[in-house]
Amino acid sequence: MHNQRFFIEAETYQEKKANQRVCGDACLSRKLKDEDRLITVLSDGLGSGVKANVLATMTTSMALQFTAKNDPLERTAEFIMNTLPIDAKRQISYSTFTIIDINCLGEAKVVEYDNPPLIIYRDGNFYEPSKEVRTLTRPGGRRAKVSYSCLNLKKEDRIIIVSDGITQSAMGTPHFPFGWESDGLKKYIRQTIKQNPEISAHQLARKIVYRASINDKGHLTDDATCHVIYCREPRHLMIATGPPFHENCDSLLAERIKNFDGKKIICGGTTSKIISRELNIPIEVSLNNPDPSLPPVSKMEGINLVTEGILTLGKVSRLLEELTSTEIKGNGPAEQMVRLLLNTDEITLMAGTRINNAHQDPNLPVELEIRRNVIKKIAALLEDKFLKTINIEYL
């Protein structure tokens, strides 16, 4: 997601308690494109395992829905507490939550209930927003303290939310008799960012969870989840695919690629020929191909990746559909493209609409999809599943 001032990268990493099959924490983010708004909820369900997972998942999805509908946050908090199923043994229902709602201006509203307090890292220090604490009555007359805060995010700010599996890791060890706690965690965050000031949200979240696991000697004593929000300069990428419908737009396409400030991909034989001709950059086709299911990549100076068109796009779309994490194995043309795409925030797709007649031959051994459809599918996946900002320009 992005707003006028910066791009927001939001990533979660989690590990389950040792010997459990599922994680009892849940973390969910949703980008509301029309409002340019990002909502994230992290919840820790009572206990561990499947039951905890159900509680946490219900909490995150309810909180997300209500917040997206702009219901007052107190009502949301109250509703969640009253709705969760009651544990038969302990006769309580319980899950914690932290809700962050960031609008298009970078203003964040935060609601916290029983999770470790969220951490805001700004300019080498930790920023403490003022909090308003309100008491809600839970079923059975028990009281619950919910805290509300607002903050204005700035470029290079990072917000870190964790479940208590992180802050309570190492508990009982001589070094940390009361656990790592927020202080230990903060120290680690500051150190890590100092060593690598541009560390991505995903890397930081993963490092924090790994460290908690080391604190627990490799056997986490509770589910550990970390969500990191990083406000930064957006990274841009342009893909040129397909020849323009009118030939006199060839030079325009080439100029756009040449002047683009960011990474560049050319996808398609004819397209690369056009750009090579217009910009006078030779194409070098390499025969060394790690993925025999696709034609090999080529090289052009100043372009990060040059691939074949429709077959490669088809595979990219399949890979994006199947991916469940941001780690990609393999180094074929499609994998290289997916890696570049996922490492970017804003993607401009220059889609040429001239149809390649050779591709329409009914005698072909495989059916070639229409480029425009594949592009639309890829764009939708990148936008909805990977929260990227996409612009498509047809020419």
């Binding site: 194409i283 086709v285 025999p292 080529s298 074949e308």
Partner: protein, 84 residues
């Protein structure tokens, strides 16, 4: 050492690839030992054959400056042998 005297450009375009060109990329492994050192293999972008409406069909290769349509590994080897 013998210098390569023959350059083979294998078309790496979409049409050639799906019409059997993928196999041609393995050409190097199929060249007889006495020919292999004389041949330099490169990739090329679409050679244009697929766009024309004549008999010539993909997959195709260029052997030196001669275009070979409907190429197979066997056809290429026969062609080179003739040239040597």
């Amino acid at each position: 050492m013998t210098k390569p005297t023959i350059t083979i450009k294998i078309c790496c375009g979409t049409m050639c690839y799906i019409m059997g060109g993928a196999e041609l990329h393995l050409l190097k492994e199929h060249l007889p030992a006495h020919i292999a050192p004389l041949v330099k293999i490169e990739g090329a972008s679409c050679l244009g054959v697929c766009q024309d409406d004549n008999e010539d069909r993909p997959p195709c290769v260029m052997i030196n400056d001669e275009l070979i349509p409907n190429a197979t590994i066997q056809k290429i080897i026969t062609h080179i042998t003739k040239q040597l």
